[in-house]
Symmetry: C2
Subunit: 314 residues, 2 copies
């Protein structure tokens, strides 16, 4: 379930008016902006952008960028974008990052539904005049490239059929590869980039049944290079993306100096989807409410905004 | 330009009636079937299928399959299908072929526009409950797999921008790889599966300018294994698919015992697109009209049907 609280009825025109008053003249009324934008869903936000453009003849996003700053600005910018466009931005930022945040790309390619991923690839064309796989390939090499390009290019079958014999067979292939570290890596890539998610989950379950521990746990101990790390993230995202996101949040908040990019990314991308479930997982795992940790670790308008998206009001 | 001659106005209901009379009772009026189906475009054919289903409560395709036979049946079956669905069938037949007709897969992936290829992948899901890349990957290995999976999974940027420096750089990479046969094959794959067609054409032109001959000509002399053959087909299809198809036709008709599958495939898939241009290329290259060769090499209803699609009447 989502954490976002959006009204059934809203007037895009009235919302645009409030925003205009919040940004015009000297100073900015950040609280008013948060109160509106933090409580509108994707469709409503696009309607507000459109109404704002129609009435005031300027781009709301550009205006907010010039009024806001820091992590708050970054979070608001990503939030306002249409989801496919937002993922395109997240992927591009990751590709160009100095830290090589390629796990973000694996995450996007592995968590999204096949049709959603196609929409992201389309948005990427429009925005960057390149294909997503083109830019990913240009920044990677070897098996790592093969896996990442395969993941972002995938259009998985999304039916519910499971082939148990195949699951057993491919669980064995994965096991061999992880065990020997030299096993048939090409086969591991083939399995991860082409099989349906339902089939892959069956394969991971079979692995667990046969070996008494999950393949992602096994990989966590072994993952030393970029390639194995990417395999690990892909498997976690396909197997149970909510648990994966809980861990991203935990890691982001536990660090000395919070990882704001990770925190923002999870809150922004999941608030309209399943952030409530992720919050519950977080509480179970850490015996503290996600909102309380967020409130402690970050501050200012950025904090107000994320807490609003987390459904806490403001 | 197309060779198909389709009337602006047609009545799906009347067409369905004619077809019903042609198949009902003893015997089949193949000429009537050809006169209708051989002169209707993709939209009209789907309307006829629908009208036939509505009026006679049976599937026109199934009925024709039971009434017709041999190459005529095969050609008619492929012709009636919606194009995306037809390509899905052609790809699946190629994947499962004993002769490993994987060039058909390279051809489909390289000739179609990015959006058309996505539609084929979608049709493939619906028909085979697998993804196209999944089935391709399961039947191939090594670099050959990497190239084929990459090609069928591609969603190329389709803008017209060209980067001439990149074209020079990547023409050099291709040259090195073809020259040494060991060059950086992964880079060749990356270039072929991710770059836009416009960019790739610029790269191939640059190769030609720098070396005095085309890369496909060079490859033709070198292509000894499945991988290099696939590279050759991909480059030809991207560089100039009409010339490529002319050659497929020439090869199909020159063989002792015509290659009906190749002949059917080109006529069926291009009749509504650019078969007229391909016919002209054929005439220039062979000093004989394509229709005349077709008329000489094949016979019966199959011949009547293909000649109709070639715009010759019947």
């Amino acid at each position: 379930m989502a954490t976002l609280i959006a009204p059934m009825n809203h007037s895009p025109k009235e919302d645009a008016d409030v925003l205009w008053k919040a940004v015009k003249g000297w100073g900015t009324d950040e609280s008013a902006i948060i109160a509106i934008m933090g409580q509108r869903n994707a469709v409503q936000r696009q309607q507000i952008r459109q109404a704002y453009q129609d009435i005031y003849q300027e781009d709301l996003i550009k205006r907010l960028e010039s009024e806001l700053s820091g992590n708050f600005e970054k979070a608001m910018y990503r939030w306002i974008l249409d989801p496919a466009d937002r993922y395109a931005v997240l992927a591009n930022v990751a590709i160009k990052s100095i830290n090589k945040d390629y796990h973000v790309i694996v995450e996007i390619a592995s968590v999204l539904q096949p049709q959603e991923l196609l929409a992201v690839r389309h948005a990427y064309h429009n925005r960057y005049k390149n294909s997503l796989e083109e830019d990913v390939a240009a920044h990677t090499s070897g098996y790592h490239r093969q896996l990442l390009v395969g993941l972002v290019s995938s259009f998985r079958y999304d039916g519910v059929e499971i082939n148990p014999i195949l699951a057993k067979h491919e669980a064995d292939i994965l096991h061999e590869a992880v065990k020997n570290k030299k096993g048939n890596i090409e086969e591991v890539i083939r399995i991860l980039i082409t099989r349906s998610k339902t089939q892959l989950k069956a394969t991971f379950n079979r692995y667990r049944d046969d070996h008494g521990f999950s393949i992602s746990k096994k990989l966590l101990n072994e993952a030393s290079d970029d390639f194995l790390k990417a395999v690990h993230v892909a498997i976690r995202c396909i197997d149970d993306h909510k648990k994966y996101y809980e861990k991203v949040l935990r890691g982001a908040l536990k660090r000395i100096g919070t990882d704001e990019d990770g925190l923002t990314r999870v809150v922004i991308t999941r608030a309209e989807k399943d952030l409530k479930d992720i919050k519950e997982l977080y509480y179970k795992r850490n015996s503290v409410h996600l909102e309380d940790t967020v409130a402690k670790e970050i501050s200012g308008d950025y904090k107000k905004f994320l807490l609003t998206l987390l459904g806490k009001g403001h």
